[in-house]
Structure formats: structure tokens, C-alpha cells
Symmetry: C2
Subunit: 339 residues, 2 copies
């Protein structure tokens, strides 16, 4: 192991002081062009890499952007992460993820850990932080973006969409198709799932069709298999459900599979609408209706806003609603039954 090249080695080799080398790296405009080029040459030649710890310690800040998401395995967050990544890749910032596992307490702890590092910025999920977390975020000396939801009380910046409105739209669509006994299937009842349930409930109340027995939920996290099971539970209740709005597409696909197995015709005997519009929904048989959400774009926008703020640029829209799109497909287009 050869010793690491330090800033002072570069300085010595270039015949300048350490301060000047540091300036070349941090504020190159402060160094005369000739010296700057020479130093850059030496850096290249020696293969110098700044020690991030020393840098962070001396400057009392890092180039770390912390990201708190509830789950790594959920497709939704994977897409968001991809968006974040694609933008951050070309920036000088390092991303650091942490997984709150849908726990406000873990979130709070992780937040403290992150903040203790003086991150350049922070991305957190949702609006349902614990009061302590919220205070921490408010007092944070770095910009913060909340993602996945909209709301009128951002900690700092926010980008997402309305779960209530999108679920309302999906449910209203089912009502419009003539379904009368529309169930809600929900897994892992996180705040966003709850809001979707709210949108569902509101739409049915407006149509005079609400019946709480039609709501089937579980704290387990959602899978296709779970969709099959939840449909089974629903059918056991013998409420003559003729449609289901699923909290997400995994469940919706499971419902579709289970309907096939039980010879329940989709969409005539059972309408199905999912949530998130995973790519597979469009190629299932029949294709499954869903609410399209802009997950990757959400990630991209979040990190862009953050970087703009970090670098002192004005953020024109600190509260960004990306909306949603109802993708109507065969699974929810009922051929109206004969009277």
C-alpha cells in the first residue's frame, strides 16, 4: 500500500501553498489561470483525491444528500430512487439512503444521524413525520424536500401528488361504469394508503354507495399473492361486490389472477382498478386499469429542487403537484348487464 497523496503533497509538487490547492478545488476563480492549470496538472498526475472526512471536518459541511424512504423493496420507491439517481449522477453530491421501514421512530433516529453529519440536503418521504422529526427538519440548516404527497404545509419544499384526489378519481370512474358495490383492498396501511382509502370513501359517499364492510385491509405488506387472499376475504363476506379498487397494482394483479381462478369474469362480473400503473398492468389479460403516477419524475424534480436550493438558485415552485392520470383499461370497462 503506497501512502495516499495528500493536499500538501500536491502543494509541494506544484510549488504553492496548501491554501492555493484547496482554492483550486473549491473556488477556482480565486486562483490565477496559470497557477490553476499547473495545479490541476499535478493533481491529475499524482492521482490526488480529497479526503472527504477531512474536508467535511474542516468546512463543517458535507456534500451528502440524505434520503429517507420507507422501503427499498417497493417498486414505487425504486422508481423514485432511479429518478433521484439519474439527476444526482452528474452532480457533485453523494447520495445516502436510509430505510425508515415505515416507522416514525426510526425516521426520527435516522434524521438525527443524518443531521449530525450536516448534510447538504435532505429528502424525506411523506408529510406524516413525528412532531420531533418535523422540528428537526424545520431547524435543519439544509434544504429539505418532502416527496410522495402534496399538502399546504411543507417543511420546506414538496413534490408529489394527491392520494385522496387520485383515489377519488379511480373510484368515481368505477361508479361511472355502473359498479354499485365497490370494495377497497389495502395492504400495509401507511399514511398514503390511508389517504387513498379516504378518497375512495369520499367518492362512494358522494354516490351514496359507501359501505364500510367493503373495505378489506391488512397490515401485511402488499404482494400479488396477498391480492388473491384479500379478494378471497372479500368474497367470503358475501356482499355481492362487483368491483375492487386496489391500493396498488400488486394487489390488483392478484385480484385478477384470483378472479381467473374462480371464473369470475373481469370486467363484467368484477371491475378492477389498481394504483401506480406498473408497466405490467397494460399487458395483463384483460389489461388492468390503474392510476398512473409519476414516480421517476418525482425523484428527478425532488433532487433538482434540492440542488438548486443548495447552490443558492431560486426555486420557482417549491410546492410541486405532479398530478396523476387515470388509465382506463378493459378491467374496469363494464359491458353493462341486461336489466
Amino acid at each position: 500500500m503506497e501512502a495516499r497523496v495528500r493536499l500538501s503533497d500536491v502543494a509541494k509538487a506544484a510549488g504553492v501553498s496548501a491554501a492555493t490547492v484547496s482554492r483550486v478545488l473549491r473556488r477556482p476563480e480565486l486562483v490565477s489561470p496559470g497557477v490553476r492549470e499547473r495545479i490541476l496538472g499535478v493533481i491529475e498526475e499524482l492521482g490526488y483525491f480529497a479526503n472527504p472526512a477531512a474536508r467535511a471536518l474542516a468546512s463543517a459541511r458535507t456534500n451528502v444528500i440524505g434520503i429517507l424512504i420507507p422501503s427499498l423493496t417497493n417498486n414505487v420507491f425504486a422508481d423514485v430512487l432511479r429518478g433521484i439517481y439519474s439527476v444526482a449522477q452528474d452532480s457533485p453530491y453523494d447520495l445516502q439512503f436510509a430505510n425508515t421501514r415505515y416507522s416514525n421512530l426510526e425516521e426520527e433516529n435516522l434524521l438525527r444521524v443524518f443531521l449530525s453529519q450536516k448534510p447538504a440536503g435532505l429528502i424525506v418521504t411523506g408529510t406524516d413525520q413525528s412532531p420531533a422529526s418535523r422540528t428537526l427538519l424545520k431547524q435543519a440548516s439544509c434544504p429539505v424536500v418532502q416527496i410522495m404527497e402534496t399538502g399546504d404545509d411543507p417543511v420546506d419544499m414538496m413534490v408529489g401528488f394527491s392520494h385522496v384526489r387520485s383515489a377519488h378519481a379511480a373510484t368515481a370512474h368505477l361508479v361511472g361504469q355502473g359498479y354499485r358495490s365497490i370494495a377497497f383492498l389495502g395492504a400495509r396501511m401507511d399514511p398514503r394508503t390511508r389517504r387513498r382509502m379516504q378518497g375512495y370513501s369520499r367518492a362512494l359517499e358522494e354516490a351514496g354507495l359507501f359501505d364500510e364492510r367493503l373495505i378489506v385491509t391488512t397490515p401485511r405488506s402488499s404482494t400479488v399473492t396477498l391480492g388473491c387472499e384479500l379478494l378471497g376475504l372479500l368474497l367470503e363476506k358475501e356482499l355481492n361486490a362487483d368491483a375492487v379498487f386496489c391500493n396498488n397494482d400488486d394487489l390488483a394483479l392478484g385480484v385478477l389472477f384470483e378472479c381467473q381462478r374462480r371464473r369470475i369474469a373481469v370486467p363484467s362480473q368484477m371491475g378492477i382498478c389498481g394504483f401506480n400503473d406498473l408497466e405490467m398492468m397494460a399487458v395483463a389479460n384483460p389489461p388492468v386499469s390503474s392510476i398512473r403516477t409519476f414516480r421517476q419524475e418525482m425523484g428527478e424534480q425532488a433532487i433538482r429542487m434540492l440542488i438548486d436550493r443548495i447552490e443558492g438558485r431560486a426555486v420557482t415552485t417549491p410546492l410541486l403537484d405532479l398530478g396523476f392520470e387515470l388509465m382506463v383499461r378493459q378491467s374496469s370497462q363494464r359491458q353493462l348487464p341486461p336489466l
Copy 2:
């Protein structure tokens, strides 16, 4: 903003020197129980958090474990990450991910960045690093685990399974079921996909059934929709394919959907076998055969081995083959056609 609590603040409040506080944190056995308890109390009371930058700078090492994976959005890696997480959560180590995007060049760059931080350990994907990366890893002053594959020439430690053997088993199974024109569908031809293709080819050659025209691949990354398309491409070739082995389950599900649409009976007219055994495969109609791989366990083992090594414990099996399991389901169990 209240000033951060420093080690020296704790020391002052506890009436001891900074060195002693540091010892309580790093090597508590060196401090007498009474003093230790008192200091821990003060730490708790003041809400002291060590500054990781200062710590790293002073000790010339970090508690960061770097993880290099090719993709964040792939289910497979998501499962591996979950495994890694579940173990690391209760350890003092911080995880830091980076995404190589299936590029050896990016991997090399990221490796340099990681190594410049003197990580406590490193997890990298696969065995196909560039020669330069391999050299970097060999010279690394920290333990390294390669995941996702087995091989006889590990950089340091390795945990995974044989893609060749598992694909061979899947293909041999299809042969055994009486299929005679077995296609291979592959997307994003990364090294592991290639090895699966090798296993497929070998099995068919052994059976005297190999025909390279039956191989349909694309550099695009795999989706269910792509499975539909690839099946379309295969059928256009009019080779009377009667089975497909898919590089992964996304493709396999797409093939199933496309068969349904084209009224191709599965498994009688078309056998299907996927790879990875995502949970949804078991509940599709018909259930789809697949190769089960132990992704989460792979992550768990990888980080365990790493931590054991970091902490100086002997690793009994530095080259761990987790194997695989052929999950035979209806999609590949042909009712043999009449003669």
C-alpha cells in the same frame, strides 16, 4: 440553532478528559465501570452524537460499508439489499450504495471513490470486474465480498449461486417434459444473463436439441411488456418453438400473458420457465415454473461475512454457494400430446 454538543462538552460535564469519553465510546472495557456509567449518562442527557467526519479523520478509517450494485430498480437487487439491510441495521456500520448501471467503467470510478474513503468493507456484484477494478479490490485494505455468483477465483470472499447450473437445470427440466424446441428469451445481456444462456445452451446440446435461432435476446432491460414482445419475435421466426426458458420472471410473465392473448395453451402448446421465482409466479394462471434463488439470504450472508472479517472473526466459508431450487409448476408440466 443551538451549537452541537461536542465530545469535549461531554467530557467537561462529566468531569473527565476527552480521551476517557472517547474510550467509553470505542473501547469501554478500558474505562472503570463507575466512570463509564457516569459518562454514558451525560452522553444521554446531552444528546451527544459523534461527528463522523472527525472520527473518520482521526482514526483513519470509517464505519462505512460500500455496496456496488448494477441496478436499484431490479427486483433481484432490491431483495439482496433488503437482506443486507436487515443485518446491517443492528450493526455499527453505515451502508453506502452506489449504482454501477451495469458498466464496468462506472464501477471502477465508484470503486476509487469508495476506496478513497477507506471503507470498513465492500460488497460488489459479480465476478466480471475490469482488470483495474480487480487490482483495486485486491489491494484494498478492507474485506470484500462478491455477490450473485460463484466461482473459484474470488477477490476475497464470495456468496452466490451458479447461473450456469441453475439454467441448465431449468432447461433440462423442459427437455424432460418432452419439449423439443426450447427457446431462450434474454434481456439486458449482463454477465449473469450470459451465463444462464450458457447453461441453457449446454443442456440443449446435451440433448441434441440446440438451435441458435431459438435464442432471442435484446439489450433492453427486462419488463413484462418486453416478454410479450420477445415471444412475438420468437413466433415470427416460425420455428415451432414449444417452450421458452426466460432469463427472468418478468419476461416469463410477459410470455404467459402473450400466450393467453394468442390463445396458445400453456403448458400443452407452450411450456414456460422463468428465473428468480418472484412471488407472483406461484399465483399466475397457470402458475409459472421458475428457478428459485436465495436473494435475501445472499445479502444477509454477504454482510455477515463482511462484518465477521472486519471484526477479526474467522470466516469459515469464504466461498459460499447458496444453490437454487427448481420450482416446477403447471406452466412447464406438459400433458404429453397424443402420438
